[in-house]
């Protein structure tokens, strides 16, 4: 059994230590907001936070995550009130939506480390998250909007 803390909740997981964290989240814990895209750390759809960093859960093994703090899109805020979640809705970012949880989890690290990102900062942070629908202009707009919401404390 492996002890895993996901979204502030502790789980005892009966799984191999070399199972990808993504499998554990989706198939064992039922947290399906995190998506499988490529399985090779190339697309960013599986991005979750490991001790606050935006790791690719498809290549992160369970034994690296054991005993650490994991946050998924379901735990980013208790009520979808994170500035990024509100900005995403306001800017109507998603098209098909498949990549968007990964996009938001990556953007959350950007905004934490750089509360006022420029377009270049956003490009530097977000180019690892691929969107097949090409929603990039709306993603950039929403991140700027979220920065304003975060600054305003609303």
């Amino acid at each position: 059994m492996v002890t895993l803390t996901v979204n502030q909740k502790e789980y005892q997981v009966d799984a191999s230590p070399d199972m990808p964290l993504l499998w554990v989240l989706r198939d064992i814990l039922g947290l399906t907001g995190t998506k499988f895209g490529c399985g090779m750390a190339l697309c960013g759809a599986c991005t979750v936070h490991l001790n606050g960093e935006a790791v690719r859960s498809c290549v992160t093994l369970l034994n690296r995550a054991a005993g650490q703090q994991i946050i998924t899109i379901e735990g980013l805020s208790p009520d979808n009130s994170h500035p990024l979640q509100r900005a995403w809705i306001q800017a109507d970012v998603p098209q098909c939506g498949y990549c968007q949880s990964g996009q938001i989890m990556s953007a959350a690290v950007l905004l934490r480390e750089n509360p006022h990102p420029t377009d270049k900062d956003i490009d530097d942070a977000m180019t690892g998250n691929i969107c097949r629908c090409g929603t990039y202009p709306r993603i950039r707009k929403a991140i700027h909007l979220a920065a304003q919401l975060q600054e305003g404390g609303v």
Binding site: M40, V59, R64, V109, L110, D121, D124, A125, M126, G128
Partner: protein, 196 residues
């Protein structure tokens, strides 16, 4: 008696002059030093350092390199101030403490990173002479002495990764033991710079 003093003085000055002449012309070397052997050893070392497994993380720019063609890392990955990437694209977000199995999967090591922005330790584009001089300069090599350089290339886990690079990646042109031996020989024989 004056003649004797005069002869002694002349011969003493002559010996000093000859000594300076020999030192400046390199006609003699300290015991155990050998310029040709040292330079030859560095030529072997240089081939390894410029191989993709070493050079890809010592780029001239601020993006790591990938593959045997040393192309810039996909996803616009940046060095960052500490050499660990930026924001959501930090090295260890994808690169694990170990290689991920399978071709084209992320290689890994507990120390996976580029050199930091204030000490880039660039290999790419350096001539043998430039790279040798850079390696020996404590201001540019992380404050390492020659002995520490030998220790670094002999046992550092990230250096050793170059010979265990994961599936589908070519190895450097020498095996690690021979690389470390040639590096030590370069230093032991005088750490001479290549001519070019």
């Amino acid at each position: 008696m004056r003649v004797v003093y005069f002869l002694l003085t002349v011969s003493f000055i002559g010996m000093i002059a000859m000594s300076f002449h020999q030192r400046s012309s390199g006609a003699t070397e300290e015991p155990g030093k050998d310029k040709a052997a040292s330079q030859k050893a560095f030529a072997a070392v240089y081939k390894v350092l410029m191989s993709p497994r070493c050079m890809n993380c010592h780029p001239a720019g601020d993006a790591p390199l990938q593959g045997d063609d040393s192309h810039p890392h996909m996803q616009n990955v940046q060095r960052g101030p500490e050499g660990k990437g930026v924001y959501a694209l930090k090295c260890t977000n994808c690169h694990q403490p170990q290689n991920t199995s399978g071709e084209h999967m992320p290689p890994g090591n507990p120390k996976w990173a580029l050199p930091p922005a204030d000490r880039k330790m660039v290999f790419q584009g350096r001539s043998p002479r430039q790279l040798a001089a850079q390696l020996l300069d404590p201001r540019l090599n992380g404050g390492r002495t020659k002995e520490q350089l030998i220790e670094h290339v002999t046992s550092d886990t990230l250096v050793l990764w170059g010979w265990h690079p994961g599936d589908g990646r070519t190895l450097p042109p020498l095996n690690h033991a021979e690389f470390a031996r040639q590096f030590k020989r370069w230093i032991d024989k005088g750490a001479y710079l290549p001519d070019k």
